[in-house]
Subunit: 210 residues, 2 copies
């Protein structure tokens, strides 16, 4: 599988009601989003499953990969393109074993040690963050541009920066070796998700690893 | 697989701290519990996984099956003996497909219609309840003894009654066709889980289907 990580959308049902999510995701894809991660907390497995199916209807129509956050069972149930897990989720090696090699596995890492371990455990790409302080994840310690460079130097897999990334601070990340950026509120919290995605794409020119 | 549903323990970390769970489960097994369902809400996937591994160390040592509540991914990750799902969890047919035929699938049902659908979807047994009103599940409408009889008449698979079952009300269920009873607070909320299980076993004499 060849994934384009350029503009990676992570959903958040506290910023966008679930019933509006398919439409918002579609607008974001039209605006330039290249991969979608469905993240749901505080809902039943049934609601997660049904939301994933509705969002997948959109991502498939636009040939954009859909990844599921945390819940390997939901990823399997809807035959998603992959799974993204954090350090509080299933161990990456266990997730890799159950998921099989045909699906994408992403792992969140905030340090060089976590990044190396994730790759050893089978991660296809890393979500590195929070790059800058953010309101979405309260407990996230910022990695910063220097931390990002160190992780980039330590591992070979694609790296997606996440956390506090906005149009205005993307130029700070030029040359840091990211393969893409992941955003939550910069798209799903916006009145015009399509326009927001378009502006982020423009702001990304020259920032990512080529 | 031949399962003995006689005394089916469902855990609850609000009644028993997770670190004490393996010891409490062990005492309950020594007292007569024949199957254990690990139910965790409001914890990370990692904590659920690690708790399951610790409880499984006990259940395997005593050759008692361990089922996981709701989370098919945790069941797969620890290679549990099966999965128990409710009406707000993954659809039973989807769970059955991913779980495979070698594992036990239990489904909660509160009506004849839910019970028939669950069996059609591949349930190996049904958890029927709440039989009597209970504090553990706030939204549970009581099925009652008559409801239990109707479900018993409608399906062939083993039936485990759950919800509000205590030593003193078990005689009311004689002849209703249950294969076992599931309890939460009647064991995990007790100071002496082993003694509580023993007393429940005694009170079950003549109550279950033979």
């Amino acid at each position: 599988m060849n994934f384009d990580y350029t503009l990676y959308l992570v959903t958040d049902s506290t910023l966008c009601p679930r019933e509006e999510l398919p439409a918002v995701v579609e607008q974001a894809i039209v605006g330039g989003v290249t991969v979608v991660q469905l993240r749901e907390k505080d809902c039943s497995s049934r609601v997660f499953y049904e939301t994933a199916r509705r969002v997948q209807e959109v991502t498939r129509r636009h040939s954009v990969p859909l990844l599921i956050n945390d819940r390997l069972d939901i990823a399997l149930a809807v035959d998603a393109d992959g799974l993204h897990i954090g350090q509080s989720d299933l161990p990456a090696a266990v997730a890799r074993r159950i998921l099989g090699d045909g699906k994408l596995l992403g792992v969140s890492a905030g340090t060089v040690e976590e990044a190396r371990q994730a790759v050893a455990d089978g991660a296809d790409y890393l979500g590195i963050g929070a790059i800058f302080p953010t309101d979405t994840k309260e407990d996230a310690d910022a990695v910063g541009v220097e931390g990002l460079r160190q992780i980039r130097a330590a591992v070979d897999v694609p790296i997606v920066g996440i956390g506090g990334l906005k149009e205005h601070n993307l130029p700070l990340l030029q040359g840091a070796g990211m393969d893409g950026i992941a955003v939550v509120s910069a798209i799903v919290g916006q009145q015009d998700p399509r326009g927001a995605a378009q502006q982020l794409c423009r702001a990304l020119e020259g920032v990512l690893r080529t």
